[in-house]
């Protein structure tokens, strides 16, 4: 790992990390990225392990494939939200190749950017390509590429942290600090800093669900992804706690924490509505994806949050 970090640091922006390759290879083939070198981290030891304990929770190495993560016994039993999110990514082949670390670090998407070079010929270079305009939002001074990973909302709702190695040591930060909010460079990892692993706290009695809106069940990125992680069995059937993760509606994945007003109510319906509206107010989808208008997608944020809460409660009821 230290060698990979040092090489990446030495090469600077010319270097690109490759793990599963499912995000970077289309970008290379489309000539969206033309790195001088690729640093293959697949041989870095101990990055493909999954460990779980009741005290420490779940630790997942960055190179664990989505398919392996989804199938792992402890993940299926203790964190079904993660299994659901992993199995919603692309196709079985992409799940078998793509890694959890790569999924978290995947680039933001835009229909004006993710195009073969020949299809981009009629367009001036946008901000993401180093140019000076945004085709999705005319007149905008910033890039609006949309973050569309499926694992981040689930892991945000589970309050996960990520460990970053830099060649001399490592530090652990909450997952939301990994994201910059900038469409052209959605995560904050400078050259030489490599995502090493993910830690998820113990699940307690939480119930989670991931609901995803997309045109086709295979290969499509989410036009909206909502992860709901809640703690049921509060007073009079109300929720004790709830966290919502969103993807596909902003330049970063979003974590929606309960607004203060939720503490004043012990009615499930009101709590759900407060969370649904809080999520909707933070989502700003724009017309840079294929299928469904931004307005519809924004409306669907609250619908999916309500649906997620209901489905999670059904699961909780089933568990007894």
């Amino acid at each position: 790992m230290s060698e990979a970090c040092k090489t990446a640091f030495g090469e600077g922006p010319k270097a690109q990390i490759i793990a599963g390759g499912t995000d970077i290879l289309p970008a290379l083939k489309y000539r969206l990225k033309t790195p001088g070198i690729l640093i293959d981290i697949s041989s870095v030891p101990d990055l493909d392990t999954i460990t779980y304990s009741e005290q420490e929770g779940l630790t997942v190495g960055a190179l664990v494939t989505l398919r392996r993560l989804a199938a792992h016994k402890d993940v299926r039993e203790k964190y079904p939200l993660l299994t659901q999110a992993a199995l919603s990514v692309g196709s079985a082949q992409l799940q078998a190749m793509g890694t959890i670390g790569g999924n978290l670090c995947q680039d933001a998407c835009c229909i004006y950017y993710n195009l073969p070079s020949v299809s981009r010929q009629g367009l001036d270079p946008c901000f993401k390509l180093g140019g000076g305009r945004c085709h999705a939002v005319q007149g905008s001074k910033i890039c609006h590429a949309t973050y569309s990973g499926d694992m981040a909302p689930a892991l945000l709702a589970l309050r996960a942290c990520v460990t970053i190695a830099d060649g001399t040591g490592e530090n652990t930060i909450p997952l939301n600090e990994l994201y910059s909010g900038r469409g052209e460079a959605p995560h904050v990892l400078e050259p030489g800093r490599i995502l090493k692993g993910i830690q998820v706290p113990p699940p307690f009695h939480n119930v989670g669900i991931y609901v995803k809106m997309r045109i086709r069940k295979s290969i499509d990125y989410p036009l909206l992804g909502v992860a709901v992680n809640l703690l049921p069995n509060g007073k009079d059937g109300a929720l004790k706690d709830i966290l919502v993760g969103l993807t596909g509606v902003e330049k970063s994945p979003l974590l929606i924490t309960p607004p203060d007003e939720i503490k004043d109510t012990y009615e499930l319906e009101k709590q759900t509505e407060i969370m649904a509206q809080a999520a909707r107010s933070k989502a700003h989808p724009i017309a840079n994806t294929s299928g469904y208008s931004p307005r519809y997608r924004r409306e669907m944020v609250s619908v999916y949050v309500r649906q997620g809460v209901l489905q999670a409660l059904e699961i909780a009821a089933g568990r007894g």
Partner: protein
């Protein structure tokens, strides 16, 4: 160029590959195994699916230099002595073949599924082949063919009826 060792359909190969050679191109051009197809070339269509170390992968999205020491099954490996694999026979029996371009890909996705889960549900069959796009007609007959083999697997101990 870099030398890699690959086992393809049970045969070991030593190959000199360029750093930017894709596994699909190596299989097709150097080994002359043209069953795996190049469709979209960007990981969307599944026509290039092969099985690597038991997992279905997209060979158009896999750099060959990263496959050193790996074991690969292509569609040619399903009928090594000309004897059709049960999935291939089922594809014929259920008319699950149109132009044939997607066929090697979905057959290998189905094989990877059945190897790990000999009697999958209809939903599991659909999910397993969701990344293999057919542009001719549809998926009903493909599903029927896979489900027929899965049905025959009922009660068969995992791994006993492979290949």
């Amino acid at each position: 160029m870099k030398t890699i060792m690959l086992t393809v359909n049970g045969e070991a190969y030593e190959l000199a590959v360029a750093p930017n050679d894709m596994l699909l191109d190596v299989i097709r051009d150097k080994l002359d195994l043209t069953g795996a197809k190049k469709g979209c070339d960007t990981g969307a269509c599944g026509a290039c699916t092969v099985i690597m170390d038991g997992e279905p992968i997209l060979s158009c999205m896999t750099l060959a230099v990263r496959c050193h020491g790996r074991e690969i099954t292509t569609i040619e490996g399903l009928a090594p002595r000309g004897e059709l694999h049960p999935l291939q026979q089922a594809a014929i029996d259920h008319n699950a073949v149109q132009c044939g371009f997607c066929t090697p890909g979905w057959l290998l996705s189905a094989k990877a599924l059945l190897d790990g889960n000999p009697h999958p549900s209809q939903e599991e069959v659909r999910t397993a082949i969701a990344g293999n796009l057919c542009r001719c007609t549809g998926y009903k007959k493909i599903e029927d063919a896979i489900s027929a083999v899965a049905g025959r697997n009922q009660g068969v101990v995992k791994g006993k009826n492979r290949d």
